[in-house]
Symmetry: D2
Subunit: 342 residues, 4 copies
Amino acid sequence: MVIIMKKNATEKQVDHVIGWIESVGYRAHPSQGVERTIIGIVGDDRGKAQLKATEHLPGVEKVMAILKPYKLASRESRDGDTIIRVGDLEIGGPEFIVMAGPCSIESEAQLLESAYIARKGGAQVLRGGAYKPRTSPYSFQGMEEEGLKILKKAREKTGLPVVTEVMNTTDVDTVEQYADILQIGARNVQNFALLKKVGQARKPVLLKRGMMCTIEELLMAAEYILAAGNDNVILCERGIRTFETATRNTLDISAVPVLKELTHLPVIVDPSHAAGHWQYVKPLARTAIVAGADGLIVEVHPEPAKAISDGAQSLKPEKFYELMEEMRILSEVMKNRIEVRQ
Amino acid sequence: MVIIMKKNATEKQVDHVIGWIESVGYRAHPSQGVERTIIGIVGDDRGKAQLKATEHLPGVEKVMAILKPYKLASRESRDGDTIIRVGDLEIGGPEFIVMAGPCSIESEAQLLESAYIARKGGAQVLRGGAYKPRTSPYSFQGMEEEGLKILKKAREKTGLPVVTEVMNTTDVDTVEQYADILQIGARNVQNFALLKKVGQARKPVLLKRGMMCTIEELLMAAEYILAAGNDNVILCERGIRTFETATRNTLDISAVPVLKELTHLPVIVDPSHAAGHWQYVKPLARTAIVAGADGLIVEVHPEPAKAISDGAQSLKPEKFYELMEEMRILSEVMKNRIEVRQ
Amino acid sequence: MVIIMKKNATEKQVDHVIGWIESVGYRAHPSQGVERTIIGIVGDDRGKAQLKATEHLPGVEKVMAILKPYKLASRESRDGDTIIRVGDLEIGGPEFIVMAGPCSIESEAQLLESAYIARKGGAQVLRGGAYKPRTSPYSFQGMEEEGLKILKKAREKTGLPVVTEVMNTTDVDTVEQYADILQIGARNVQNFALLKKVGQARKPVLLKRGMMCTIEELLMAAEYILAAGNDNVILCERGIRTFETATRNTLDISAVPVLKELTHLPVIVDPSHAAGHWQYVKPLARTAIVAGADGLIVEVHPEPAKAISDGAQSLKPEKFYELMEEMRILSEVMKNRIEVRQ
Amino acid sequence: MVIIMKKNATEKQVDHVIGWIESVGYRAHPSQGVERTIIGIVGDDRGKAQLKATEHLPGVEKVMAILKPYKLASRESRDGDTIIRVGDLEIGGPEFIVMAGPCSIESEAQLLESAYIARKGGAQVLRGGAYKPRTSPYSFQGMEEEGLKILKKAREKTGLPVVTEVMNTTDVDTVEQYADILQIGARNVQNFALLKKVGQARKPVLLKRGMMCTIEELLMAAEYILAAGNDNVILCERGIRTFETATRNTLDISAVPVLKELTHLPVIVDPSHAAGHWQYVKPLARTAIVAGADGLIVEVHPEPAKAISDGAQSLKPEKFYELMEEMRILSEVMKNRIEVRQ
């Protein structure tokens, strides 16, 4: 941390701040400028909310953090990229991974049909929600464990591993029995009890960025899971909330290169929730792959106009097949002809 | 809902949309303008995500919601204001209520001292966190049940009812044994499992607006609790996330009159989390009362520079006493000399 | 500025950065922490965009600004508050100032009627737009110089000084002949050519914060005017753009105490543009005065439903009189019973 | 527009609203739902701010706009895409256009060197600022007309057409003498006087989206230029302001497919201002091309660490050449193997 003293701070005030810093176990490193004194705090200041409170000391103008607050998620803590294995599949490796399927599991027929579409298109993972976070208590809340059983059947029939959301600490054990990857939804990105709980699970976690979550906060949410012992975290950019309403959220595509610079964890993109309208899903999927993402999670439905949830942003099968063809073309270009890292 | 057709939509497309609307159980009401046709959907369209998916039908340009999606939280469902009773205290009635105390319970001595300060200042409720949502897994996570016991002791000593946060469905029963009011924090405003659970509790719920949460979404979160059977919900504006960084969050003070217009539930303001710096807490507290809020929740600490969390935004005792004196002055003015309702 | 080196930066890289800093005329002050080296830059680094480009040097992680970039607008440059005189009127002094009138000047009759309403209510300044910034080129663009003449007539009839917007450098001389205060609208807050031009005018300037403008950028915009020689700048908070759509903009009421801490310039609030709906104007006006603002600018119209622009947010005369009565009550309380400064 | 009546609105209130609508020249089309009456307004309601003021009428809950407010910029007004010719160059046609050069013109040597780099890399247009919008009045404000002369010389030497910013109506004629394309900067996107003025120019206009400007407002700004008689407008997405600070702005890449759907005007992307840090410029440039943009405007500098402005986000020559090579690869893929339109 760096403490910036007021322009007219007295020498006595500076000394008092230095004394205070030392009294809580750090070393102070003052530096007198033309206009004002700044005081560096030497020592590992992560997680030390107390230092922020030096704002109460006389003569202090501002306190600024210097260090990144995450450790395990940082590239500084680990060489190379984390590769997450799900059966034979490698997420975060050279292959671009697509997770596809409907927003909600609505019935066995609907999910199986979706699973065959996903496999036919070339997706490597099947998605589908059994527990649904819905803004309205009057909306369909998901098929819950019955849905998980259908998901298991779809995996058996298609061979595709499955990813599904878990919303409550009490459901983690159950979901873990059925799912290959546990998803934490955007609204739970700072549900710390849930993060700790999936941190104890043995299955990989797909962690979605919240719509008001900074990149640093997303990495801190991942840090909760890593610190609890689960090394297998996949980050997912899915749009943030801004003033623009033409799309449901604003896809922060820059988050992909920023995250790839800061962390060794795999990063995927959800163009469906970002767009909110099916016609923008394909172009946004293209941006994900060229920005350097490791994969995609995308909503596809056999008949979107009849979907119980998120129909407007789900792709019809034919549009999904087009998208997959484009991903294959761009994936080959990105692997062979473009050097992603700076 | 209203469906807006494209300018060049054909009659056949309009007919197809009408047929589709009727096939899912609504009545369609087309209206042909100079430039385009719009189709009103008659029937209670709340919670019907399917109608949104008409965007997939040929010729449709946009689908707009008309009805407010909440019912029980709406003034339309209930005459007058909801008044919540906590012992002899009435929240949402003519008296302006102040809930005060430290961010975290750090020790018995610290909480008891804070409780005496709160009572001396004239606060009616004691606040203090036993379970703490912290951005970093390396920060102090709260004293948990031991903290709740200290809180109970403080209530016995001072007679003040207590409000404290619950973060996990599995802790609700425990927290309910100790607390008079259950707090749902900003990060859990769309933790739907938790909302349903506190909806089954017998204690009132203080629901904080999330930093990314619209006023409508806050009312939908309240709707979850009301729909689960708990009528006693207090809403709390605590700042939203914007591009401005001079304050920790941006207090959306307009939310107070907007909420008072839309809902019968009590509305309070948290100036501490909005401001993030102690020196702005007093002026923001003044804005809360004149905007028409029913109360305040404010952080006070015997020695903020030593606080384990949120020290920068906590008031020293003397500043808190000044704040309380100002609240008494303005409360009297608001009761006797200013007509709040339009 | 402070340069933060990467964790693994070599000694040679640190030396290179230090050499570079010295080569552009500053002194470097390195400080070696446990995890990384930070380098303070000593010297007045304002306006030196070049230092930001040290991000290109090997081993550099981040460059952070320390000093506030404004000088003349800062409290550090001047003791006490700036009081702006318009005839007998003092803006920024003990009296709370209200500027009132219609959004647009629509006709002589409409403006005169508005002026009498403003005066009857007790406003000290008449507002009214002759040049109108309208989102649509097809909307009414203002009566221009004819409107200014009507404004002058209204001043003669009522004795109220007038404030009106100027949108183009070529109109500044004309507007200055008619107006007592020149208004810079929110969309022109970073129209630097216009800021320089009004900086040469002899009339005070009312500078509205843009809806995307940070508090620091607002002060930098004021700095343009001050640096060009015009000391009389009134700042105006009028709402910022956020994700919330219940109000037209989000009134950043915290900006009032923040600005009063940072600058000696007067600060007023525009509750009409912030709210966008008339029914929230009165409560927001109350928050302005208790937050410590020096005044208000508010839209009133003899018959809002017939207004050519901003009718939805304009007050009817009777509501305006109520607002003025409330301002008198709260002004007296603020002057006599509440100590605003910390 | 659609007027939504309150739930308890009386028949008399509905009749009064209908009468009012008809009195201002529109036809009303009421539609009685289960819960409330909505009233469609038939007629071209664009630019009719008055209808918004129906919010003042008794019984009215909300007024919602239905029609898009722009005409000339809309695809509805014109078949096919607008192609803008600058000499032999076609912007908006099949070729992907890159405009490259330094942020500011600093000297003849610096600009000429930059121009040769731009041409060597394969850029089709040279950029360079002679009038600079700077947040601080103490920053370098540009070489003004002297800079324009250097720009002209660079065009003569390299054959590249030039684009440069104009900030003030009084400079438009001068800039038009030297530049091939007039740029309107992000901060002037709603400087309506300037938009009208360049609408009268005979050179094409590059219109940058403001950082708090919705897509609809950007199209309305273009509408100002089109309505004034200049058909040649190029739109530019350059990042919007959000809460995320890892990048200077948040590139709204979704704006590209949204704009291509709504308007016939060419759309380009500025990855430099969006990113704010050079290392993210290349990946963002890749996203632009695959999202369907018609081109790019990018900052390149012979020696970024010595740039007077925007050094941190400028590319070194070698990085720029890499970027151009990637653009060629992806351009070929997009032309031959991917079908952009839905």
